[in-house]
């Protein structure tokens, strides 16, 4: 079993009422801070796991895409707390990387370009599969497709929650109801020891 502590702190923050309830150690107020912590994550994965260097860099790239999405789609428009939660735990069972925000969420972001999206589950499916950008007319929106492919290729796990929808990605892609209502987005990458 992977350590649940970091995950629980992230859920408490992005599902709770208090926008200030975020431990300082896990808070990235801006992209600069987030970028610096990506370097720290890479260093920790290299020193504390047996992952190959190429896999460590793929994890860093995927975490970078997820975290930067939060900034890209909420800049100047954060509902209450700007910035993201970014933490990880590494132990004998593997590694878990957690990112969360209290932003607009996937559905509200994508409805700006695709108003017919009717619920959070549909929004997650569109975000991970369709060629669409929440910041149209800018041509972008390839980050989560890259993440989905990377997770599959590395045979690891990603749980992505937004609103009341939860996507679980490994070799398959499953969408269902989340246990908690997440205000923005919550992403958890899990690398179990026996998978590497």
């Amino acid at each position: 079993m992977l350590d649940d502590n970091v995950k629980n702190l992230a859920v408490e923050w992005c599902a709770g009422d208090d926008p200030n309830n975020i431990p300082k150690d896990y808070y990235c107020a801006d992209r600069g801070e987030f970028g610096a912590r990506i370097d720290n994550l890479s260093a920790d994965l290299k020193s504390d796991t047996k992952m190959e260097e190429g896999d460590v860099y793929m994890i860093a790239a995927m975490a970078g895409e997820i975290g930067n999405n939060s900034f890209d789609h909420n800049i100047g428009n954060w509902p209450d707390a700007p910035g993201i939660f970014f933490g990880w735990s590494i132990d004998n069972n593997g590694a878990r990387i957690v990112m969360a925000d209290r932003g607009q969420g996937i559905m509200k972001t994508l409805r700006k370009v695709k108003p017919e999206i009717s619920n959070h589950q549909e929004a997650l499916k569109v975000a991970f599969f369709e060629k669409i950008s929440g910041r149209a007319p800018e041509n972008r929106g390839n980050g989560l497709k890259f993440v989905r492919e990377g997770i599959k290729q590395m045979k690891i796990h990603l749980v992505f929650v937004s609103g009341d929808a939860r996507a679980e990605i490994n070799q398959e892609f499953k969408i269902g109801a989340a246990n908690e209502n997440i205000r923005g987005c919550l992403a958890i990458i899990e690398i179990k020891r026996d998978e590497n």
């Binding site: 990506i38 790239a61 970078g64 890209d72 041509n139 972008r140 497709k145 890259f146 290729q153």
Partner: protein, 108 residues
Amino acid sequence: MKIFAAVWQLLKLKEMKIEIKKFGEMLISRPAGREAYLALSAYLTKGVDRQELLEIDFDGVKVLAPSWADEVITKLAQEFPNIKLLNTQNSTVQATLKTLREYSDLKI
């Protein structure tokens, strides 16, 4: 005469190399990519003949994410029809190029 003209064209074809590692080893966000593209447009590719062969070298790059690359590689490919990619063995470079080809119409 046609042969001489073709040889002359070949001799005229110059090369230019952009070393991506000069922008950093961890290339992740769109704003950073946009800044890199603006800088190279001002200092490296300004005034360069669009028919020149442009070599993009990924040697030394540790992390290349599609957001950064979409702002640089995709835009360079739209400007320069003759591009050669060098040292693309890194797993993030491979995965990012695949994503851009599939979702950003990158034609390299």
